[in-house]
């Protein structure tokens, strides 16, 4: 799969070019256009990997329940994928290593990549930030998106990132969710909520803007929902 990014970084889209019989798996709704020589199937899972339960887990984390499989029937097939909010996109390469992607940042991957869901436990329920991770392993290319710009940070030792700004990170990093301030009250009132404390050696990909914060700034301007 060849990946070409168009119009980075503001409203990026990715043009995926497939060889004959090559397949790409994309999040439901990501496709914006494609050539005719592609077969699409919709499923709740990656082919021969996991099943209905995996689909259900994905739905729980706000990812689309369904994945679309695009298979090239002829050489030089193309699929263009994008996302909802403005921002950048990039690729991650897996070569037997594992990368953890914040669930909303996943766009597409080669079919050779295995996808599973991690849940970060009870603590994340308090954060309202949808702290769910996709565990990606195997070998292949992954396309991810960010809200705003995307920038990698090489961590060696300890580093703290606000949970709303995490796009992805190497699984070699240990991490611990903790409150940003000294007490829970100051953390929540301070608006910082949860932060992720990384530890070890690896890369964290961060996004310049926080989706939840943007949504909260728009909410009060809109007509309320009558219940």
């Amino acid at each position: 799969m060849n990946v070409e990014f168009i119009h980075r970084p503001g409203n990026a889209a990715a043009r995926l070019t497939l060889a004959e019989n090559e397949s790409v798996v994309a999040e439901g709704g990501a496709m914006i256009s494609m050539s005719d020589n592609i077969e699409i199937t919709t499923s709740t899972q990656q082919k021969a990997k996991g099943g209905f339960i995996k689909g259900l887990k994905r739905a729980l984390v706000g990812e689309s329940f369904f994945l679309n499989h695009f298979k090239a029937l002829q050489p030089d097939a193309e699929v263009i994928v994008s996302t909802t909010l403005s921002g950048d996109m990039t690729t991650l390469e897996l070569e037997g290593n594992r990368i953890i992607v914040q669930s909303g940042s996943f766009v597409a991957c080669e079919e050779s990549v295995d996808m599973d869901l991690g849940w970060q436990g009870f603590k994340s329920l308090f954060s309202k930030e949808g702290l769910f991770w996709l565990n990606l392993s195997g070998a292949g290319r992954v396309v991810i998106n960010s809200f705003g710009a995307i920038y990698p940070i090489a961590v060696n030792g300890e580093y703290i990132v606000d949970t709303g700004h995490i796009v992805a990170f190497d699984e070699t990093l240990n991490f611990q969710l903790s409150k940003a301030g000294k007490s829970w009250v100051s953390s929540i009132l301070g608006g910082e909520g949860l932060v992720c404390r990384f530890n070890g050696t690896g890369t964290v990909w961060c996004q310049s803007h926080n989706i939840t914060a943007f949504g909260r700034s728009l909410g009060p301007q809109l007509k309320p929902i009558k219940s």
């Binding site: 503001g10 409203n11 709704g29 496709m31 914006i32 256009s33 494609m34 679309n68």
Partner: protein, 232 residues
């Protein structure tokens, strides 16, 4: 195929800040007129006079576009006018030489008086399910046409069949045949999250956008306040 460059018989203009915040600056000669979508005028010289005209009548009303197109004329000498669409995104220009382009109904920004605009009934099957409204704006004649997108713009030369998600269509040239269809069977229709797509056939040019307004609106929706009826 319409050309995108400046034409000798067309406006003297500049497009800036592409692709995220497209903005057009047009230098009008004395007594030259430009038609601009209501609210798209951003800046202008003081000798430019505005006239409001109802164009397209009822059709425009039904496409949910504003009913009005304003005409700006440079009086007593040349003048400059700056034009931008409401949403962030790209702006594109074509010069029509007795050619026709179909625009998605919110894509129109500005045009020469020589470009005729009509709303086009798509027929029930084509338009009704498309989610993009029942009408396209048919732009034909001679002159400049400016149109905009939400998000960046991608130009695709169609030769054969090409498939686009309905909400990402911006414009296409006349001569392309098109039909609205579900994608990949019924399971995909309901569950793929892709909804309906348009299949273009033939040879022509297609402009698509990298983001779409309906998806953004539904993303914002959960952030709305909830107000109980009894308290209001």
């Amino acid at each position: 195929m319409p050309i995108t460059e400046k034409h000798d018989n067309g406006y003297d203009f500049k497009l800036c800040c592409k692709p995220d915040f497209g903005f057009a600056t047009v230098q009008l000669k004395a007594n030259e007129t430009i038609k601009v979508e209501a609210s798209a005028m951003a800046t202008m010289d003081t000798n430019i006079k505005m006239k409001t005209r109802m164009k397209g009548g009822l059709g425009r009303l039904i496409t949910k576009e504003s009913l009005f197109i304003n005409e700006f004329t440079a009086e007593h000498g040349p003048g400059e006018i700056g034009i931008a669409a409401g949403s962030t995104g790209d702006i594109e220009h074509v010069y029509l030489d007795n050619e026709t382009i179909f625009l998605q109904n919110s894509g129109y920004v500005a045009s020469s008086p020589g470009v005729a605009l009509e709303t086009k009934w798509q027929g029930f099957m084509k338009g009704f399910f498309s989610g993009e409204g029942l009408f396209l704006i048919k732009c034909s004649g001679v002159g400049d046409l400016f149109f905009s997108t939400y998000g960046a713009m991608i130009v695709i030369a169609v030769n054969g069949d090409y498939i686009v998600d309905n909400n990402h269509i911006v414009a296409f040239t006349e001569g392309l045949d098109y039909s609205v269809e579900p994608i990949g069977g019924y399971k995909s229709l309901f569950f793929s999250g892709e909804g309906l797509v348009t299949r273009f056939r033939g040879q022509g040019q297609l402009w698509i956008q990298t983001r779409q307004v309906p998806a953004f609106s539904s993303w914002v929706h959960p952030f709305r306040r909830v107000e109980s009826r009894s308290s209001s």
